[in-house]
């Protein structure tokens, strides 16, 4: 299992992903699922992936090695594609290429062909964008009304995002909320676990402001978990007792 979230606010983009992979409960490993591709001043891109790890890794390799473009002679690569929209299309094409080679084998092994990606960032001359790309290669773009997207085990961590994130939220507050959303997920699903990778990119900076791995036992993250739990306990205390009548 996996949980990744991307939050796109006015000031910039936060991407967050756990690192746990499992083939059954008795075969658990740590793999990086958040990748940052940075050419400072030219482009800064972040990709987070959920689903079958072999599929995600194949897609990532194709993005660097290049995928045929039906409208051009040269191969498209994630380092050279000229706009965010074209880059999202490229990721979709890479997923379809992997499907063409792997799908039959997956079907024979009765494995679901599952891969989904969050892709955010900015390329010089264009706006900052955040996309979610599905296993069919199609994709949607994040809007301002619900300024976040999620892949993987998304349900436990969604209520806090629904309630606390707006497009006007400070980007470091968005990072804190993303960490709380990740923590809520880790508490409920053992398939999502530390360390956590995070990236923060400010709009129009064309470089990563922050790239960090939160390891188990890190004091700040521990403190964040404790403060959040304490705040929730205090919050419901301040809500008046229900006035509901006795015996309906």
């Amino acid at each position: 299992m996996t949980y990744c979230a991307g939050i796109l606010v006015q000031q910039g983009l936060v991407m967050i992903a756990d690192t746990r992979t499992n083939a059954g409960l008795d075969n658990i490993s740590t793999y990086r699922k958040l990748h940052v591709i940075a050419q400072p001043g030219e482009r800064v891109l972040a990709i987070a992936h959920a689903g079958n790890l072999s599929l995600s890794q194949s897609v990532m390799s194709l993005l660097h090695e290049g995928v045929e473009n039906p409208d051009a002679a040269e191969l498209d690569t994630i380092e050279k594609v000229p706009t965010m929209f074209r880059a999202a299309q490229l990721i979709g094409r890479a997923i379809r290429r992997v499907r063409a080679t792997d799908f039959e084998g997956f079907e024979q092994a009765k494995l679901p062909f599952e891969v989904s990606m969050l892709f955010g960032g900015q390329i010089k001359g264009g706006p900052m964008r955040l996309y979610m790309i599905y296993s069919a290669g199609n994709f949607i773009e994040c809007g301002q009304e619900a300024p976040f997207l999620q892949v993987g085990e998304h349900k436990y961590g969604k209520p806090i995002l629904d309630r606390a994130v707006k497009f006007s939220t400070d980007v470091y507050d968005a990072l804190k909320i993303g960490l709380i959303s990740m923590d809520s997920t880790m508490r409920s699903n053992l398939g999502v676990g530390l360390p956590i990778d995070i990236a923060l990119i400010c709009r129009d900076s064309l470089e990563a402001e922050l790239i960090h791995r939160v390891e188990a036992g890190e004091p700040y993250f521990h403190d964040l978990r404790e403060r959040w739990s304490a705040a929730l306990r205090a919050a419901h205390m301040n809500i008046p007792r229900p006035p509901y009548g006795v015996k309906g």
Copy 2:
């Protein structure tokens, strides 16, 4: 879809269930999914159900009409069974009875045989208990370490229960937390909706302290939603900004 939660704390039991049923997105109705069976001074029982409504209703009917008991001549009914454990067994037997009649037809229609129930309360002479009964008729009992059980769409509403409910929590605080858990679920899943039915039973009282239906637009519930969202927004403001270094 459905969401039901039962919370068993030192002072007593809270049961909460939504009322939305749907056969596809274009066929939505309101049905009661929380039932209280009360004989004050003798027994007070609450049953909440998720899954296929026809199965749940058949089980409820059988509990009142009676199910054969292999060890007795008379039929067992929910009004007469002598202990909570025996009552949970009775519900399991009723589910198996319904399975015996309905399963083949469900299979032919490619419908999943899904029904699960929360069953809590107290019978004179015995302790207060809370059980979750699965579609195979087996069941588990709620413990003090995680003093709640859920059926239906449980993921969105679980983080708040995980963080805020302890066995020592005041029973009216447990009710508020249950309403917040329900609200978190309704915001994310359209298949869970108002009105909400709630029941609150104090330990050893052998009667219902509170039975209430929260209708759309009710001022208290609206205020609770607003206060909770405001408290969450304030809570993350009080967490310090991450000290994470720049450019890893």
